[in-house]
């Protein structure tokens, strides 16, 4: 194969086409690039914010679940028990007033037993006193 004429032929072929990129195309392409990179940057920030919120949400839910799972957390438990007990005694007094002290007392003892507790002497005395007072 004759190499030299082929080289010359290559040059002739190359000379048949002058196709430099238009000057204005550079700015168009670089503007596209800048816009795309900026959009990607915002996408990245939004994605990070979404992940952060997700992690915070999961953390908060996990904390609440842990708090709820503790068996008689002292402060909250006492408040709830006191309110329940007070309400039970008040209801028992209403029952005692409508019937008699014995029925009121039995009602209160039964309800307290359902929640695994017993009436204190003071609570029984309060129910009796309320029933007696109503009659007196």
């Amino acid at each position: 194969m004759n190499q030299e004429p082929l080289d010359e032929f290559e040059r002739q072929l190359a000379a048949t086409l002058s196709a430099r990129a238009p000057a204005e195309l550079r700015q168009v392409v670089l503007n596209d690039t800048e816009r795309e990179l900026r959009a990607a940057c915002w996408d990245h920030r939004l994605a990070r914010a979404a992940v952060l919120l997700l992690v915070v949400g999961i953390g908060m839910n996990a904390s609440l679940a842990l708090l709820d799972s503790r068996p008689h957390e002292p402060r909250v438990g006492h408040v709830a028990d006191d309110r329940t007990q007070k309400s039970l005694v008040e209801t028992a007094i209403v029952v005692a007033e409508a019937t008699d002290a014995e029925t009121g007392r039995q009602f209160a003892q039964q309800m307290a037993a359902l929640s695994g507790r017993e009436l204190t002497d003071q609570e029984i005395a309060t129910i009796d006193a309320a029933a007696d007072g109503d009659r007196g």
Binding site: P22, V29, D32
Partner: protein, 177 residues
Amino acid sequence: MSESPTHDLAARLARGDQAAFAELYDACADRLHGYLVARLGSRDAASDVLQNAFLRAVKSRRRFRGVENPVAYMFQVARNEAARALKKRPAPNHVWPAEQRIVQTDRNAEYAEDTEMVAAALGRLDADDRELVELKIYAGLTFREIAAIVDRPAATVATRYRRALESLREWLAKQFR
């Protein structure tokens, strides 16, 4: 050991460095455009495909991490974009637009008094061979770079290219005999 300039450029491109994309454009835009004009037969279509190719490269910039030669990689991207553009419209008949033709000189008048004759000769080649000629002559790539793009051994690319060129020359010689 310091990184080679192309590796450094690839790393900056992968990070989304805008200046790196400007460097890449300056390094290959003219050659890419020449290749695309030859491929698509239209200056406007070549500009559109070049623009789309860069946009695609920016969107998938993380792929530059594993790239040794960003310029050769851009030719792959542009080649794929050109294939998409060609699917959307009929194949070019390789009659190049008037503004692409240069005034013939005495030097090349022996083979190609009319650039349309060269275009017709290119059109006669097998599609794969024609692309080799376009990548070598109009894109100015080395056989090694072309081999990476068309996924063939460099020796095969060189042999096929020379055979295609011989075929072109013979056909043109007959036309002007």
